[in-house]
């Protein structure tokens, strides 16, 4: 595996983000330009005068990566330059503050692979709720309390939003499934238009789990049906990662601090049932079990 993200960056031990970047860059290769929004990725990989990036990389602001990439893309086309163009950003910029910018990029049809490393909250600012935060997750702005079980809303369905823009390639992936992730990135780079790939990327400080269990947790998200691995081409669901025997969601929830209140509070059991229903709905909707 070629390593295009140099060691020595400042991401936390156990963070899924650098692993995700390495896999994406391994698939894309050195002839790639990366655009990133503000976030953990940017602050941990580019403290001036250092940089971990072995490919050309540009960061402008929190909410404009897709717009900046659009400006790069038109120049690649103008110069007939055959270089891959990838945005790598977190869920805060992707789901929330950069939504207008993303929508514009999707709608204009730029040839850009947009990879969201989704850790399901604003981690760079200290674990605040984002539009990607799942139901009943404890964050610092959706704390648990006497009248609260954490985030009261389910996760925003960003792939559906991309699909509604007729984005020709949309996929979900996981840091725990590197072969699948690499394959999806490669496929996206052959698409003559925008692609959106949403990668489940656990955050050790935000989700609070044992160091060394990052991949296990990401795998459990898939095996419970909470994070189905899907692939759409031209709006058609063409590939679903099957689960042999779905695991109960408790197995995924109980090893993460962000859900621990569900196992202590009296109304936690009902919430766990609701989360199980969400997993079951995915299993039924995407036919995850043969």
């Amino acid at each position: 595996m070629q390593n295009l993200l140099a060691p020595g960056h400042r991401a936390c031990a156990g963070c899924a983000m650098p692993t995700t970047i390495k896999l994406v860059l391994d698939a894309a290769g050195p002839n790639t330009i990366v655009v990133s929004p503000t976030g953990c990725l940017e602050v941990t990989t580019t403290p001036f005068p250092e940089s971990a990036w072995c490919v050309p990389w540009v960061h402008s602001l929190f909410e404009n990566a897709a717009a900046v990439a659009s400006g790069v893309e038109v120049m690649l086309k103008r110069r007939c330059q055959d270089t891959n163009l990838v945005v790598i950003g977190g869920d805060g910029s992707t789901f929330d503050i950069g939504m207008g910018s993303n929508s514009g990029m999707f709608e204009r049809g730029h040839k850009i692979t947009y990879v969201c490393y989704d850790n399901e909250a604003y981690m760079n600012t200290g674990v605040q709720r984002s539009g990607s935060t799942p139901f009943c997750v404890h964050t610092t702005t959706t704390p648990t309390g006497l009248r609260s079980l954490g985030n009261p809303r389910p996760k925003k369905d960003m792939p559906a939003i991309a699909l509604a823009h007729k984005v020709p390639y949309v996929a979900t992936a996981s840091v725990a499934y590197p072969v699948d992730l690499r394959k999806k990135v490669k496929r996206s780079l052959d698409v003559n238009g925008p692609s959106y790939i949403q990668v489940n990327a656990p955050c050790i400080t935000g989700w609070t789990f044992e160091a060394g269990t990052t991949i296990e947790i990401a795998r459990l998200a898939v095996e419970t049906g909470l994070w189905p691995l899907l692939e759409w081409v031209d709006g058609e669901l063409i590939n679903v990662k099957k689960i042999r025997r779905p695991k109960p969601v408790e197995e995924y929830l109980k090893i993460q601090g962000r859900y621990k209140h569900l196992f202590k509070k009296p109304d936690g059991a009902d919430a766990i049932k609701e989360i199980q229903l969400m997993a079951d709905a995915n299993i039924a909707k995407y036919n995850l079990v043969d």
Partner: protein
């Protein structure tokens, strides 16, 4: 060849002559005609640019960050609310030292909503690290465009520029204009060759974060570049004169100011009215003159000290207000004089806000007030022609 054209067309034509690689813009009154004309020039094959119609002004300028990082010559245009929406990107473009040129069709900001001309938008953006040139008429807005690229793209400057022209008054007026000759512009304006671009053969990182040990030095380098721009703006204005035969001053220009007792200091299209008023008053024996500020950023401290040192009284007329403390040009001018030998009384007027006409009568009243102030200042700053009856 002189042609009677709309101001917006003349500017679009000037942009075409500068051959930008990328034009990115979002429509907003009164800027719209500029980008409409540009898109037609692209549609007709006269302008070979990538033209992006985007989802907001915020995106319009963000796109140019990407294109500029690829080494593109970039253009955009906006005004008012659009410039305000770009605010975050304005700092980013200047901090990344990207020589973007943007026409600002000056307009008031809401609330209350108002689409007419004043200069609150760009004066409000005076600290964002961009150079700002204010045009007196359409010809000057046209001619400032290739000058702006030449200044911005100079390796010693590498700083974005706003070419500010009064909305409607200049963007929508039809007047005789000498349209630029593309071949002449090519000889005047060299191609943009940035030292650093996004290139997989030579990967570089753009937009790293800087901690307290280095951040100040980034700002200092921008400050130094603006100081270097003082000489560059003069030099480029003279080079333009050599090629095209037109000159409007570099940093400032003057009209009847040499022996003037009262000197009006201002920017933009109101200068035409002021010159007419000065002609009338001169005929009546009143020694009134004008200093036009063409470059507001960098602020031409030395040039203004020199031009205004013999005035008996100075009246600043400007289309903006800093709510809570006078207005931009007035405060800056007083600041420029504070540590000099100049002790001339200075008074200021917020005028023409939200598109209210500034008439010759208004200018005459300003001059009367200035004469009175030369005998003792009773007010330093006021709203011109305030309608007290509707307050």
């Amino acid at each position: 060849m002189m042609k009677v054209v709309e101001g917006s067309y003349a500017v679009a034509h000037a942009v075409m002559c500068c051959s930008p690689d990328v034009v990115s813009a979002y429509p907003i009154t009164p800027q719209t005609h500029i980008v409409e004309h540009l898109s037609q020039l692209v549609a007709d094959g006269e302008l070979d640019s990538e033209f992006l119609t985007v989802d907001s002004e915020f995106t319009a300028l963000s796109v140019l960050v990407g294109s500029s990082a690829m080494g593109a010559r970039c253009y955009s245009s906006t005004t008012s609310q659009g410039l305000a929406l770009m605010y975050e990107v304005l700092y980013n473009v200047s901090g990344l030292r990207m020589p973007v040129v943007m026409t600002v069709a000056n307009r008031a900001l809401g609330a209350p909503l108002n689409i007419w001309n004043d200069q609150q938008d760009s004066i409000g953006a005076r600290d964002v690290g961009w150079l700002q040139i204010y045009a007196e008429n359409v010809q000057e807005a046209v001619d400032a465009t290739p000058q702006a690229y030449k200044i911005a793209e100079d390796p010693d400057i590498l700083t974005p520029i706003m070419v500010c022209m009064d909305g409607f008054i200049l963007t929508h007026v039809y007047e005789p204009v000498e349209l630029l000759d593309s071949e002449k512009v090519k000889s005047f304006l060299p191609p943009f060759k940035p030292a650093d671009i996004l290139d997989p053969a030579n990967p570089k990182t753009f937009g790293a974060f800087a901690d307290p040990t280095t951040y100040t030095e980034f700002r200092y380098q921008q400050f130094e570049a603006q100081e270097r721009a003082l000489a560059k703006i003069e030099q480029v204005a003279k080079e333009f004169q050599e090629t095209f035969g037109r000159y409007y001053g570099g940093l400032i220009d003057t009209y009847q100011s040499e022996d003037a007792e009262v000197v009006i200091v201002t920017m933009g299209s109101v200068i035409g009215t002021i010159k007419d008023a000065i002609d009338q008053m001169r005929a009546e024996g009143k020694k009134v003159g004008l200093v036009k500020v063409r470059s507001y950023r960098p602020f031409p401290v030395q040039a203004l000290r020199k031009a205004l040192k013999d005035a008996h009284v100075i009246a600043v007329v400007e289309k903006d207000v800093s709510i809570g403390m006078e207005a931009g040009l007035l405060t800056d001018l007083k600041s420029a004089f504070y540590n000099s030998q100049i002790r001339t009384p200075i008074i200021g007027f917020a005028a023409g806000l939200g598109g209210r006409d500034i008439t010759i009568k208004d200018i005459r009243s300003i001059v009367e007030k200035a004469y009175a102030a030369s005998k003792g200042i009773e007010f330093e700053f006021e709203f011109l022609a305030l309608r007290k009856e509707i307050l």
